[in-house]
Each structure stands twice: as C-alpha cells, then as structure tokens.
Amino acid sequence: MLEVTGLDVYYGDAQALWEVSMHIGEAEVVSVVGPNGAGKSTLVNAVMGIQPARQGRIVMDDVDITGVPGHRTCRAGVAIVPEGRRLFPALTVGDNLDLGAFNKRARQHHAESLEWVYALFPWMAERQTQHAGSLSGGEQQMVAIGRALMARPRLLLMDEPSLGLAPLIVDEVFEVIETVRAEGVGVLLVEQNVQRALDISSRAYLLSEGRIVMEGPGQELAESPEIRRAVLGV
C-alpha cells in the first residue's frame, strides 16, 4: 500500500534521513522505533508531505506522492496524528473533528465518519463544545486520532502517541490502534516506547541516526540486543 524508496530528507543543509526505504501493507501496523533524534518524526512528516524530500520516492496505492504538498497528500488517503497532538487549540473538540474531514474526498462522508469516531470515543460526543486546549493530554491524544480518522485514511501516521501520557491512558491508545487496524486502516507507528510498539506491530524498522539499520517481524526485533544498543548506546 505504502512504498517508500531511497528517501533523503534535509532540514536546511542538515541531512536527517539517508536512503530510507520501507513499505506498509493494507491493514498492517508497522512500527518505526529508534533513539531520539534518529529522524522518526522527519520520516512521518515527509510521508505526509509537510516536509519535502530531496531524493527518493513515496508511492501510496500506486500513486506517486513524492513532493506532493500536505493538502493534497491527504486526498491520497494518508492522515497524520502529529507528535505532541497539535490540535487547533482555540477551536472546540467538534471543530477539530469537523476539520479533519476538510479534504474533498472525506467531506462527502462527513456524517458517517463522525458517527464512527463517536462510536470509538463516546465521551467526545458530550464534549463537542469544549475547547481543545483545555483537554487533558490523554483526551487530546484521542481527539487527534479522531481528527485523523475523519479524513478517512487508508494509512494512519502516528507520531509518538504515548508521549507524556500515563500508562493507563497509553493502554487505551494502543487499544484504539488495534481497533483501527481491524477496521482496515494501515498504521505507521513511530514510538519511543519500544516494547509496546513492537508488541502491537506485525513488522518493525529500527531507525538510528537517520538510517534504517534493522527490519523484521516485531517479535524478532523485540528480542534482539541491537535495539538496546541503538537506543542506549551500550
């Protein structure tokens, strides 16, 4: 479904990613783990089209979306749950969800999508008029996921969803990921919490210092000493 080949991404003239290649199949959860500063967020932003790639290709469902700006990438079926949530702070929960469906493809199914999101997160229906900035971290994370789902994606990009959340909330988040996958949405999961991510993924990639240094089934990576070395440096 998603095919990334030979991706080079720069911030100014600092190279963040070197020849990154990966793929995600339909309804798969694939993790990208690795130490901080490895370039995981950069990878997500590049796929979403909000960060330009200098070299390489990104193909989604046989459509080349390399270099396509963000506001058109979402039409190709990609949606993002950004690092740090990044809800629209001065808008309400309802507004944030509504705007998730802004792109033309998703707008036609606005009502359906909203029903689905409220089914997943019943509490949101009651708090539609609450300002997003006043929600707790965990609630914001759920709304961010809901917003992305409103865009009717085939591929969901999740950037560090467990960041700053209490363990119980993290449990809930990961349950949602599993539910979403079961509904046929593929997930590219970028996570600091290596164990959790690997538990839920069918496959995973280890990204270190801007390069893919390992890939394979989730369990295999979980048991390898490479992970420990890459993240802890020992």
Binding site: M48, R72, F88, A90, L91, F102, N103, A106, S134
Partner: protein
C-alpha cells in the same frame, strides 16, 4: 456639543476605524503580513465612489457594487504577490509601504491634491442628520457605524460558524497541520486578502459619504488604526471592534474636555501603556482564558 454627544460621536466614528483595523488585523494575525497597502485600498475605494457617483449620478452607497469586487481583486493580487515571493513579516511592512506610496501618488495624479467632495445633489447624506433623543448625529456617521458593526459581526460569524471560517482559524493556529488536512493555505490566504480588500472598499465608500477626500488621508488613519489593532489583539475580530469603540469613546471624551488635537496624544499613550502591560491586547479570545 455636550459631553455625551461627544463620546457617542466618538464611539460611532470609532467603529468606522475598527472596520479599517479589521482588515489590517486579520492579515497580520492569519497571514503574518503587516499590510499597509490596505489603507491604500480604502483610499482608492473612497475616490472611486466619489468618481462613480459624480460621473454617473448613481447613489454613492450603491457604488460598492463596483468598488468592492475591484478592491477584492487588488487585495487578492497583492497577497498572491506576498506568497509568491515568500515575503517575511518585516519585509511585508516595507513592501506594502511602497505599494501604499504608489497608490497615494496615483490617486493624487488622477484627482489632484485638492480636497474633493461629492456634490450634495449626488450625495444627499452629507448634509442630513438624525436626532436621537437629545443628541443629533450626521447621517454618514450613523451609516458608517451601522455598516462597520454589521461587517464586523459578519466577519465574526463567518469565522466562528462557517466551515471555511473555522478552517481559516485552524490555518491561523497551525499552518503546517491544517495543511495536512487539506487546508490550502495559498488559496485561503488570497481569498482572505480579497475579502479584506472588499471591506476596505466599503470603508472607503463610508469615508466618502461623510468627509472631504484628500490623498494623504491614510496617514491620518494610521495611528488610530494601529492603536486599535494592538489594543484589540492581533487577529481578534470582536476585540478589534471593542477596541475601536473604546478608542473612539476616549477620543470623544478628550475632545470635549480639552480639544480635538489632544486626542491623538491620549490614544497614543493608551497604546504605549497597553504595549508595556499587556502586549497581547486588551480583549482576549475566549479560549485563552
């Protein structure tokens, strides 16, 4: 004029300045552009109203049917230029200053530097006035206030209640992520600039209804308008209106107590105090409480 009359008059004219301030504030808050050429759009709008009404005898108020689309196009074009050249906030100030100068000079070349005013036959509103209780106000002032308040409320409604308006708010709050959800910032920016241009045409028409026109009018507006923008909070629609009314009331009171020329000094002092103690403006958006 007694004190109450002076203050109410100030409030009414204050709403007119709030209308101009709205154009500046929205561009600054949402597009990150400080667009001095907005004053030029108001100026051109006022002279076009004058010309159209004088040449064709059409009702001056109706001239906005022509001037609003024209200023929409001009405003959109300027914003397109800013986007195309990726102009920074500080440079937008300089470039729009250059555009404003050009506009003023073109107006002066076309209509001369002499004062111009529509004839009473063309513009009956100029001499009319209406009594409200003990107070008496010129019709143009009342019209200006009415239009201004209506437009501000319209802008507020569009931003808060329509889908596109909320998309615009999202764009103002997080450009990158709003783009990831399909909000095309270029298109939105150009449309917003066009809309503020059209509002400038309306402000120009209102100005022409009640005042004598002169090409360097923008420089008399600048101080007060920026006072309103800063006091109201950049990008805050209702705040801008309240600030306009407040500044107008203060100016009115000061005019009565001392004289009209002291008013700018007092307004300026207000702005200075606001900058020192509350740089984000006096009127916060609800979400920031």
């Amino acid at each position: 004029m007694n004190e109450l009359q002076s203050i109410v008059f100030g409030v009414l004219t204050g709403s007119f300045f709030a209308l101009i301030a709205l154009g500046i504030s929205l561009a600054w808050g949402f597009l990150k552009v400080i667009n001095l050429s907005h004053f030029g759009l108001v100026l051109i709008g006022s002279y076009l109203t004058f010309q159209l009404a004088t040449s064709t005898g059409m009702n001056p108020i109706a001239t906005v049917a022509v001037t609003a689309p024209a200023m929409f196009a001009l405003g959109a074009l300027i914003q397109w230029g800013f986007e195309r050249f990726e102009v920074s906030e500080l440079n937008s100030l300089l470039i729009s200053y250059g555009i404003l100068i050009i506009m003023i000079q073109v107006v002066q070349n076309t209509w001369s530097a002499d004062f111009q005013r529509m004839d009473p036959g063309v513009n009956p509103y100029f001499v009319q006035s209406i009594a409200i209780g003990q107070l008496r106000f010129p019709v143009p002032t009342l019209l200006a206030a009415g239009f201004a308040i209506a437009l501000v409320l319209l802008a507020h409604y569009v931003l808060e209640k329509t889908y596109a308006g909320r998309a615009l708010q999202a764009f103002g709050q997080d450009r990158q992520i709003s783009s990831a959800f399909g909000i095309d910032h270029r298109l939105l920016g150009v449309l917003l600039a066009g809309a503020t241009g059209a509002s400038g045409a309306i402000a120009g028409m209102l100005h022409a209804l009640g005042q004598t026109l002169s090409p360097d009018a923008p420089f008399e507006w600048v101080g007060r308008v920026f006072a309103i923008v800063i006091l109201g909070g950049i990008g805050n629609v209702t705040g801008t209106l309240y600030a306009g009314l407040l500044v107008g009331a203060v100016a009115g009171a000061v005019t009565f107590i001392w004289s009209a020329s002291v008013a700018p000094l007092v307004v300026f002092s207000l702005v200075v105090l606001a900058l020192i103690f509350r740089p984000q403006g006096l009127f916060l958006r609800k979400a920031e409480h």
